[in-house]
Amino acid sequence: MATEKRNKEEEEVKTDDGSPKIKPRPIVQLGIFLVAHSPVFSVVFSAAGVLALLILPLLAKNTYISENALMPGSARSMLSNRDVSDGSKLVKDIKNYRLNHEGQVQKLVGKYMSEMVAEVYYQKFHPEGNQFHPLHFFSGPDSYTLLDNVSCASYGVNVAGIIRAPRGDGKESIVLVTPYDFINGGDYEALSLGITSTLFSLLARVTWLSKDIIWLVADSRYGDYRPVAAWLSEYHSPSFKVSDLLKCGERNTADNFRRAGTVAAALVLKVDGRSERFEDTLSIYAEASNGQMPNLDLINVVNYLAVHRQGFYVKVEKVVSLLSSSWLKIIGEIFEAVGKLAHTLNPDWNFGIPVADYLEGSATLASSLYSQALGIPTGPHGAFRDNQVDAITLKVSPRFPPDSKTRQHDFFLRGARLLEGTIRSVNNLLEKFHQSFFLYLLTSPSKFISVGVYMIAFALLVAPLPMVAASLYIEGCKALTKSTDNPTENLKSWKWLDAAKQVFALHLFGFIVTLLPYFICQVPGQHSPSNRSIMWGTTSSSLLLITFAAIPGCSPFTSRHHGTHWAVLKSVTISAAFIGLCLMSIINFATAEIGALLLVPTCLMAQPIKPALRSRRIKSMLGAFCSMVLLTIGFPVMFFAISKGLFGEGLVGLSLGGEFWTWLESLWAWKSATYLYIGMVHLPCWLLCLCILFHPS
């Protein structure tokens, strides 16, 4: 970029000298034009970026089954009443078992499985806490070292059963997961076991299986995710060394862990709460860690079967508070009006959608973006995605109370048919999921926005950054050459070096701040999250002061005449922000998108307030005010508080620091790249903007 700038500079100089001008190439001309009018273009592009984001629900396409081999719903269901009665019996038995405290429910489930001619085994796992280690980012899920001193006090036991495909070659398998708390699982949770047991009883008899079926009853006493992750890590990367955990409990579960080939797909089934609607509700959760999504075809198959075959009401999560927001409604009305107008002009233009649809779509889109940006999996399926397996969580809410026997039969039948159809489709697959999209945002269970469309919004948002950087650089260089008359003038292409030093120092600071929590966690003694956040805050700010003191030219408070010009500093800052955002968009697009919404206006608006206050002009005062507001919002803690308020989670009080700490802790526990982004891109850029704001020029 620097060379490009230099070229432009040379071009400019030539025309200034009045020497014969060679007509530059059109592309260079365009570049010069854009750079020359960067303020106008940056406003236009940023506005267009936001508009493109708002317009996304209109551009959503209907989903379709991309892989022909899936053929969902083409085979008739083979479920019989006998299978359903098997499932009902299991649910009843579990209830009795738990009432009478007859021992481990796992054994009961295992007994049922083995009666269905499945290979059964029990797996013990330790509910180890996710610990932050800075080096474990982006490493695989298996890099945990085994804990040496495992206590037998707390461990969970998973039950798994395998049905071998009668004529299959055992190369592939499909996993069904039902999380169930064996100690205090509710009646609704037991229903998920009933549905899966119904299905399992059928699958043990059928001859069409070509992939083995694994039913994992995960012990969700320690959360849904951990048991599944533990099972997967044993499945994919067992440790052959002796483990202390095996000595716990009466049963020797060491040797009988069984496997069944490469996992082709996984379905997690949960039953919770009563449906608020008239129909049974099915919620689909798909977001895995760092915004990874399963193949869209998997969601399509489930959605198709649930809607068109079994009559479930299918939904994906949405931000409820957005549904009632008036500003979004107004925008939706405008879009509807424009769509109607376009339709009258040309009947083929059918992009307008009703306001209600728009609201639904954008609320879902916002939730989809948020969950992807957060980088925390929305269910146990995240553990599968970490092992490159496509998986989704299905949460079913029946419309009847859990003790209604008559309704239960019908519910089991439909739930098991849905799973049967899905498994049959996946079973049909010869190749792994690859036909459909992996990068998409959902606006409803049957509508999606592909990567090619949603990239536009981000591209428009970040497009002004290089333009503004170039124009500011030219401006700053000019200002410097005017102000200084020293012989080093001819080294003008190295003007950015001072600014770059400052930017680099602050990025280094950001990196250290990112790593600090690891050391804070090592501090002996129990500390509340608020204390830890205070510790973090104080160390960080003292480090910042040290940085300012140690590296000359960094501090915004030292007023020196021959320091870096603020325009050059801003130019380098903007370049750094641009690079950071582009890199992040590759790792986790949604984070980059939300980050760009925050960072781009902040960076563009940042300018020294001293001259603005001095000049006492309305325009510059307004600009200074805007940049200050943006900077306040842009502070990570502040933004966290605002977003919490936006998502309707109540106002946070004094414990803001503590809650922020807890939130960050969850981010690094899930190895979310968002944490790295906040620490290494957002925070330094924000600090640099602060430097520019208080720049003594």
Partner: protein, 647 residues
């Protein structure tokens, strides 16, 4: 007259001698058909068809065979095959329930897909050529893609790990080969009676392919005659092993299902193949049943054997033979006819349970790691219940009781195995190589040239509970045209073969047997071996529309590069500047001036001195020329239109 007679006699003698020779050689060709039925502990029935065709040594080429298939004998002669085995298998052999320590399972439990191995009787340098030709010949003979084994990346030359020690042995397997009737039909064609008559008439395709396991095998070996001048004889052994679930109506789950031949296959045997020397059906009952009855002296006791409180046989066996742990009922089907077809049935009266004898260690293999980069292959050996019994019996060397296990494994070249990462864990303790590894032979793979091979001999203590072997690998990249049509399925690693060189399975019959090829092959000691699962490795697959993108991008880059290069080389900037200066004095067009003024205003700079090039004078000339051209073309078009419509 006497003279005449005297002259005839030698002729007659000669004739009778020739006839005798001819018949003698034909009598040597023997064909026998046998069927072994065996109920399995998990409510299934195993049916093992066994056909043996023997051609005795002969000394002439182009000999006409009576029974022996000509295709096979030509194959043997042409490629000088010493021993060969080809198997087509669908489904997995269940070692836990169907047994792993009897001759039947060690010979007929085969890996999924096609497996072929052959030993040649040619000089070392010609072995590979013979193998390649053989694969093509077999491919045509059996309607299968065996010819894919021709490529040197798909076969290996095991030295000792396979069980047969020979440096002229080649081994290859195709795990993805689908097995169907089109492979069975040519196999049946090799039988003298096809599937028209005799036991093979039972092979109803739907019932054979409905089974849980189905393995069709062809084994041929040459028998050296030992005599000078005589060629070698050939023994062709064809077997089909099917595991079928009998259809039951009973709801009781612990009751073994009753079955008959007609319920299993939907057909009955109506007489033996007339060309067969012997055609027998055997029924083997394993486990508890065998031990119960000790004395079979009297007729009543013998009767009790096949019609007792446990089960009923629908037919009276011709003979009953006791084995150490099982009973063998022998039926001769020669007596059956159209009116009285042979339909053996077994009816269970009481629930019974037994277990099969298992191999000393149960082997399973799986992939470790996920993603597209690295991984590891692990082989897990677990002690089975029957291990203790076996180990005490025959394995005590220098005071230490050990189990020997051979592992033979082929790695395709795109699985780049790091042999130094081999780790061995015995009972969850990591062992050094020298402790357990007795012998190892590694031949690393060469990219796109040859596959890798690993042969290991482990010596494990008898009381071992579990042993694990892991070895890491990297996934290679294939060239775009090396991907198979369904590349996104992943790539198969062929089954590993685990054999136990110090364990031999054999049926120990207490009586002298009639000359039955099946039973005598069971009586021979056979190496206990088991195949592991086939593994599926997902490799990175390109987006197959990518070549197009690459071509477009490359072309664009080339165009840009060459365009600018030519520009740089061709352009003479000094001349251009001079030209521009000379042009600067001249007048500019009114429109141009207006434009330059406008742009200057937009840029907020003073109007530049008229400097830019403007071929204004030329432009008017050019435009008049252009207008003339347009008028010319339009006139021509009008004229054409006029003349064409006129007609």
């Amino acid at each position: 007259m006497a003279c005449l007679v005297r002259s005839w006699i030698p002729l007659l003698f000669l004739q009778s001698f020739l006839v005798a020779i001819a018949f003698g050689s034909n009598e040597g060709e023997e064909f026998s058909e046998e069927l072994l039925l065996k109920p399995l502990p998990d409510r299934k029935v195993l049916a093992h068809f066994h056909f043996e065709n023997r051609a005795p040594p002969s000394n002439s080429h182009g000999r006409n065979h009576h029974l022996f298939p000509k295709a096979i004998s030509q194959l043997v002669q042409k490629f000088r095959v010493k021993e060969m085995e080809l198997s087509f298998t669908q489904g997995r052999w269940n070692h836990e329930h169907w047994g792993g320590f009897d001759p039947l399972s060690s010979m007929n439990a085969k890996p999924v897909g096609v497996e072929l191995w052959a030993v040649f009787d040619v000089p070392q340098s010609q072995v590979d050529i013979s193998w390649k030709n053989l694969t093509h010949a077999l491919s045509g003979l059996f309607c299968a893609s065996i010819n894919f084994l021709e490529s040197s990346t798909s076969y290996a030359a095991p030295t000792w790990g396979f069980g047969t020690n020979s440096d002229k042995l080649r081994y290859g397997s195709l795990p993805r080969e689908a097995v169907c009737t089109e492979n069975l039909t040519p196999w049946l064609k090799l039988l003298p009676c096809r599937d028209k008559d005799g036991i093979s008439a039972l092979m109803n395709r739907p019932s054979v392919y409905r089974g849980f396991y189905h393995s069709q095998r062809l084994h041929l070996s040459t028998v050296e005659s030992g005599q000078e001048g005589l060629g070698s004889g050939i023994v062709l052994e064809q077997t089909l092993t099917v595991v079928i679930q009998p259809e039951t109506t009973s709801v009781e789950t612990n009751m073994q299902p009753s079955w008959s031949l007609s319920s299993l296959f939907g057909r009955k045997v109506v007489g033996s193949c007339v060309l067969a020397k012997s055609s027998n059906v055997y029924l083997q009952l394993e486990g508890r049943l065998g031990h119960e009855s000790k004395n079979v002296d009297t007729e009543i006791e013998a009767h009790k054997l096949w019609m007792n409180s446990d089960f009923d046989l629908s037919l009276k066996p011709d003979r009953v033979i006791r084995e150490s742990s099982s009973l063998l009922f022998i039926f001769d089907i020669d007596k059956s006819s159209d009116s009285e077809p042979f339909d053996l049935g077994l009816t269970w009266k009481l629930p019974s349970k037994w277990s099969c004898e298992q191999a000393p260690l149960h082997a399973s293999r799986f992939l470790m790691g996920s993603g597209n980069e690295r991984g590891a292959i692990a082989i897990l050996l677990k002690a089975t219940e029957s291990q203790e019994k076996l180990s005490g019996r025959n394995l005590t060397t220098d005071g230490r009781c050990t189990i020997k296990a051979n592992i033979f494994q082929i790695f395709p070249w795109y699985i780049k195995v790091y042999y130094h990462t081999l780790q061995i864990f015995v009972d969850q303790q990591q062992k050094t190589d020298s402790e357990v590894l007795k012998k190892i032979n590694v031949s690393p793979s060469t990219d796109k040239v040859s596959s890798g091979m690993l042969e290991m001999m482990l010596e494990l203590p008898c009381e071992v509970k579990s042993a694990a072997i892991s070895i890491e690998y990297d996934k290679g990249f294939l060239h775009i045209d090396e991907y198979p049509p369904d590349a996104n399925q992943g790539f198969d690693i062929p089954s590993a073969l685990i054999s136990f060189p110090s364990h031999h399975a054999s049926l120990d019959f207490q009586e002298e047997l009639s000359k039955s090829p099946l039973l005598s092959s069971f009586k021979e000691k056979s190496l206990v071996r088991s195949y592991t699962e086939v593994l599926l490795v997902p490799l990175t697959t390109p987006d197959f529309s990518m070549p197009y993108n690459v071509i477009t991008i490359t072309c664009t880059i080339f165009a840009l590069y060459f365009g600018s290069l030519l520009n740089v080389l061709r352009r003479r900037i000094g001349e251009e500047e001079r030209f521009l200066k000379s042009q600067a004095g001249k007048k500019r067009g009114g429109l141009k001036q207006l434009l330059s003024r406008l742009t200057a205003k937009i840029r907020g700079r003073p109007i530049e001195a008229p400097s830019s090039e403007s071929p204004a004078a030329e432009s008017s000339f050019l435009s008049s020329k252009l207008i003339f051209k347009i008028i010319l073309v339009a006139g021509a078009a009008a004229a054409w239109q006029y003349f064409s419509t006129d007609k």
